[in-house]
């Protein structure tokens, strides 16, 4: 089938009206990007015809039947309940049930703790987001120190009057075993504080959100590689602002 022959058939094909050379047409479409694109347009329009008919709500049972093709994820508590049906109420079953109950209870407690942790993180992230999306946020660049040609860099975000600061690092290489990247803030009174260490993802990206201060007393921000916490930066300085 030639390309022109195929093009003449595409509309009929999209409307379900092609009754000859369909196999040849489909074979051509498969290998012809122009016909694919043209057919996509026809199918889109044909779908509008389909959606134009009077709306008839599908029966509720249809949804159940369709979703029934995938087995539901069973609730662990349901398994526990299953063990208590009369036919299984043997001492072994009861013992197993109790064991399962303990495990399930522990899982529920852990899950609750995880939910609480996620809520806390979400609240924290929301505050960081509010700062970063502010039009008046100030971004100071943390430049690489050890290797000035490195892609590694960071930013310290702050805004006077907003008691949130964010330190973001990017393209940091994975630290050696036992070593972590520490963020440090240097204050006008000469003291240092560290908001913590970065957890990097696979691209070397990490962030810290600092609450409670707008950073107006901060005179320098550095990122170091250290093996243990300290009162002041103690390892190699990897990134810093302002530059030396």
């Amino acid at each position: 089938m030639t390309h022109e022959d195929a093009r003449l058939l595409l509309a009929a094909y999209a409307l379900g009206a092609a009754d000859a050379d369909v196999d040849a047409l489909e074979e051509h479409i498969h290998s012809c990007d122009r016909c694919k694109a043209e057919l996509a347009g026809y199918l889109d329009t044909a779908a509008m015809l389909g959606e134009a008919v009077k709306t008839v709500p599908p029966p509720a049972a249809l949804r159940t039947a369709v979703l029934g093709r995938i087995p539901p994820q069973r609730n662990p508590f349901q398994r526990l309940t299953d063990l208590f049906v009369p036919s299984r109420r043997s001492s072994v079953a009861v013992a197993v049930a109790m064991l399962v109950a303990v495990v399930a209870l522990a899982a529920a407690v852990i899950q609750q703790q995880q939910i609480q942790l996620m809520r806390s993180e979400l609240a924290l992230n929301s505050q960081g987001l509010a700062l970063l999306t502010s039009t008046e946020v100030i971004a100071e660049r943390l430049a690489p120190v050890l290797d000035p040609t490195s892609q590694a860099h960071g930013h310290w975000y702050h805004r006077p009057g907003v008691a949130t600061q964010v330190v973001v690092v990017e393209f940091l290489p994975p630290p050696p075993p036992g070593v972590s990247y520490y963020a440090w803030l240097h204050h006008e009174n000469g003291s240092w504080t560290s908001p913590g260490t970065f957890s990097l993802d696979g691209t070397g990206y990490g962030r810290l959100i600092i609450l409670g201060s707008d950073g107006t007393d901060v005179t320098a921000v550095v990122v170091t590689r250290q093996t243990e916490p300290s009162q002041a930066p103690s390892g190699d300085t990897v990134l810093r602002w302002p530059p030396d």
Binding site: L8, A17, K54, R63, A139, V166, L200, S213
Partner: protein, 222 residues
């Protein structure tokens, strides 16, 4: 100073996950902070991995128009089977949807339409698809009545401004399930003319529905 350490949510889809290092990217950050709606293709992939929730969302997006179309073509009882089988095929035949051929919605509606036509045609094997319009008791509804009964006013209006020959070709094909040969026979026009009417009709309809200043081609003379 209260210092809070984070970095715990990297890679978990949290609001700050996509924080960029450039101030100019804050607008992007804001946009990305809105929970993303999974695409149909993503839902389909998850449903194929036995994710029931994903299948449920895919169903909720597309079942109603699919069922409505099927009910119009083959009746409510058969429509349920058609839609059910179409969703099952989605799960069991991974290669069925090709994103290069348009949106999932248009592809799925075409699949529903195709299944309905197959059903109609196989129910009348002795007659053959070419003769659907000639079935006893199957007097086709007048084309303009079909158009008038459409619920979507924009489609109804767009069809109404097409030349009658194009409108007839589209309506007989899509809503009555007639093949191009059957349409040619019914309207007494050469097959090539019917093909051209369908092509021009779909192109014009597309332009009209997209709000473009569509050029309504006059009847092709062959």
């Amino acid at each position: 100073m209260d210092l809070a350490r984070t970095g715990l949510t990297n890679g978990t889809g949290s609001a700050l996950e996509d924080v960029g290092s450039q101030p100019g990217r804050h607008g992007e950050l804001l946009r990305r902070s809105v929970p993303e709606v999974p695409s149909d293709a993503a839902l389909l992939a998850r449903a194929r991995g036995e994710n029931r929730e994903a299948l449920g969302e895919l169903y909720d997006r597309h079942a109603a128009p699919a069922y409505s179309l099927a009910a119009r073509l083959v009746g409510a009882t058969a429509a349920a089977d058609v839609v059910h089988d179409a969703f099952v095929a989605l799960l069991e035949k991974p290669a069925t949807f090709d994103p290069t051929m348009g949106t999932f919605r248009s592809w799925f509606m075409a699949a529903i339409h195709h299944r309905c036509l197959n059903l109609l045609r196989h129910e009348r094997p002795a007659v053959g698809e070419e003769s659907l319009s000639e079935m006893p008791g199957q007097d086709p509804e007048p084309v303009d009545d079909i158009v008038r009964r459409l619920q979507d006013a924009s489609v109804r209006d767009a069809l109404s401004v097409l030349p009658i020959e194009q409108r007839e070709a589209l309506v007989l094909a899509y809503y009555e399930g007639l093949s191009q040969s059957a349409i040619a026979e019914r309207v007494g026009a050469p097959l090539g003319t019917v093909k051209a009417r369908m092509r021009r009709g779909l192109m014009s309809l597309r332009g009209l529905l997209r709000g473009e200043a569509a050029r309504i081609d006059e009847e092709a003379t062959e």
